[in-house]
């Protein structure tokens, strides 16, 4: 009925509702959309003292400098290296953990394991970074243990070794998020119709047959969606984590895109140059999102949109 009224009458009718609805629109314009306009500083020689409008345009100058400098190759190598490790190790582990945890018959034991596994997710990277720095220092737990066991004779300061940085970053990320990542798969497994398992038991399937032929296919849609999200976020390394674990000695392995933007833009003040790689990252993320969505749609029939 309301749709037949003139617009001004509808606005009057909805005045309270609109008063509740519109502040968020204004908020989004200010905090989400105006910064999106700000990406054009990648094509300018931006100086922070003046407004974005009216600053000189320099075209692709910063991109040319970026792609021809040595920075780009190293930053991409680190970003992709850490991301691929996370994708190949960090992505399947929560699924495997969820499937195995589901096989635990005792409810209270299962709940205990779950409760414990979520805990690190709720600790900050500042705290976990503190734990890592502590364990991995030359007088830390790892050195003490390995030296007591006779595996090494000299203490190693692990966070100063660029060769170990990727592994440390990936492992600590798994340690923090394994249990949390499994929640969604556990929920999906809980939703599987039990009669499927009963039928399989009658057909003579053992536990592993059931895992592979019932559990896995049943949670495949969930896996696909999270895989698309993981792939589209490939250039997003865990910024907070790397900020905590990086130092001047491991910089050659810890300089990922986000850190590079922070370092050259916010610290060195080269806003336009840093934004050029930021924009490059957004464009690649968009392509990855579209691509991953297409591929999973074609191969499994599941997609995000």
């Amino acid at each position: 009925m309301e749709t037949k009224l003139a617009l001004n009458k509808r606005i009057y009718h909805q005045r309270f509702l609109l008063l509740m609805a519109l502040p968020a629109v204004v908020w989004m314009i200010i905090f989400n959309y105006i910064p999106m306009y700000g990406v054009i500083i990648a094509f300018q020689n931006y100086r922070i003292i003046k407004p974005i409008i009216g600053q000189p345009f320099v075209g692709f100058e910063h991109f040319v400098e970026l792609f021809t400098s040595g920075d780009f190759g190293n930053v991409m190598k680190n970003t992709l290296g850490i991301s691929f490790l996370r994708l190949f190790i960090g992505f399947p582990l929560p699924i495997i953990f969820a499937i195995f945890l589901n096989e635990i018959k005792s409810i209270s034991f299962k709940r205990f394991i779950q409760t414990v596994s979520y805990l690190p997710h709720f600790l900050s990277w500042a705290v976990l970074g503190g734990i890592m720095v502590n364990w991995l220092s030359d007088v830390g737990f790892i050195n003490e243990l390995l030296m007591n066991m006779g595996f090494i004779s000299e203490p190693v300061f692990y966070l100063a070794e660029p060769d170990m940085f990727w592994g440390i970053a990936v492992f600590s990320d798994i340690w923090k998020e394994l249990g949390w990542g499994a929640i969604i798969y556990l929920a999906a497994i809980a939703g599987i119709n039990p009669s499927l398992y009963e039928a399989a038991t009658v057909d003579g399937c053992n536990r592993f047959h059931k895992m592979i032929h019932i559990t896995l296919p049943s949670i495949a849609p969930t896996i696909s969606i999270f895989l698309i999200l993981a792939i589209s976020g490939m250039l997003n390394t865990n910024f907070e984590q790397i900020l905590v674990l990086r130092n001047s000695l491991n910089q050659s392995a810890s300089d990922v895109i986000d850190v590079f933007v922070y370092r050259t833009g916010m610290i060195a003040g080269r806003y336009s140059y840093a934004q050029a790689i930021g924009l490059f990252k957004s464009v690649v993320a968009l392509i990855l999102l579209g691509g991953a969505n297409k591929i999973t749609q074609k191969t499994s029939g599941h997609s995000l949109y």
């Binding site: 905090f31 900050s124 990277w125 003490e144 907070e240 833009g265 840093a274």
Partner: protein
């Protein structure tokens, strides 16, 4: 055949052992940190403590609470967590209520604008410039205003509001109440569980965030405790942890290590306190969010 049968029976045992091992490697680093923090600092530096404090001491914690900077940072964290969570939850819930009304003028535009923000953003530097132009840098409000609205939380609110029977609102409407009254008097009181879930999540996020304090705030008086912790961890990690340092530097390192450990425990304590409550809600919250999102 016999061998096959044996393997099946072994599985639950192997699985249980695996799970216990996982729980152990998850908990032990945290436990080890607690043990070290409660041990006398110079004794702890000798090593060899694994399960229980050797020389129990509260000195490290005493040092933490003697530092004015830490007390100040703790206060900032409490303030930003409380104010930030309340404003964000009320603002997002109010918006979700209005946007969930099918007849709202321009509804599809608002939802499209919101969805777009889930996938695209300007990035670190344009965001920083924007906050600078708004005059929010180096103010307390930089923690509150830019985090006031969250589209993902809005989706969770919306799906909850849909489960409230429409007849309740209609009867109030007929009695002459406008949407503002319906929202505050009917919808909010009915939304206890979802408000609690999202508040806990948002609150934990605010408490744990150190990033905003690093990027947007130079004034040490406005630094949250996590940013303080981040700073003492990263500043100490190279200089004081290298071997072959003089004795004076070494004892300095012992002191800074014990202060760091105690601060880590103090910072985590509030999280551990709310964890049992969180536990109750988050599985539900996670599933709703991801199924609808």
């Amino acid at each position: 055949m016999n061998k096959y049968k044996k393997k099946i029976e072994a599985f639950p045992i192997v699985n249980t052992v695996l799970m216990v091992f996982l729980a152990f490697i998850t908990l032990y680093p945290i436990w080890y940190t607690i043990v070290l923090a409660f041990n006398d600092a110079s004794d702890a530096a000798l090593g060899g403590i694994y399960w229980w404090p050797r020389e129990f001491s509260l000195e490290s914690f005493q040092k933490v609470f003697e530092e004015d900077v830490i007390i100040q940072a703790f206060t900032i964290s409490v303030l930003r967590t409380v104010i930030g969570t309340v404003t964000a939850i009320l603002f997002t819930a109010m918006t979700a209520y209005a946007w969930s009304k099918k007849h709202l003028i321009g509804r599809n535009i608002y939802l499209a604008l919101g969805t777009f923000t889930m996938f695209f953003n300007g990035g670190l530097i344009p965001g920083f410039i924007n906050l600078k132009n708004l005059g929010l840098l180096d103010t307390f409000w930089v923690y509150i205003i830019p985090t006031m609205f969250n589209f993902f939380n809005l989706i969770i609110f919306t799906s909850f509001f849909r489960s409230i029977p429409e007849s309740l609102e209609e009867s109030a409407y007929i009695d002459g109440a406008h949407e503002g009254i319906i929202f505050t008097r009917i919808i909010l009181p009915l939304s206890g569980p979802v408000l609690a879930t999202i508040s806990l999540f948002h609150g934990v996020w605010h408490w744990n965030d150190f990033f905003m304090g690093v990027i947007y705030v130079n004034n040490r008086d406005l630094e949250p405790i996590q940013t303080y912790l981040y700073r003492i961890i990263t500043s100490g990690s190279v200089n004081t942890q290298m071997s072959a340092t003089p004795a004076a530097v070494r004892s300095n390192a012992v002191n800074s290590t014990s202060l760091r450990l105690a601060t880590m425990i103090v910072v985590t304590f509030p999280i551990v306190c709310v964890y049992p409550f969180l536990q109750k809600y988050f599985v539900q919250g996670m599933t709703v969010g991801s199924v609808k999102g």
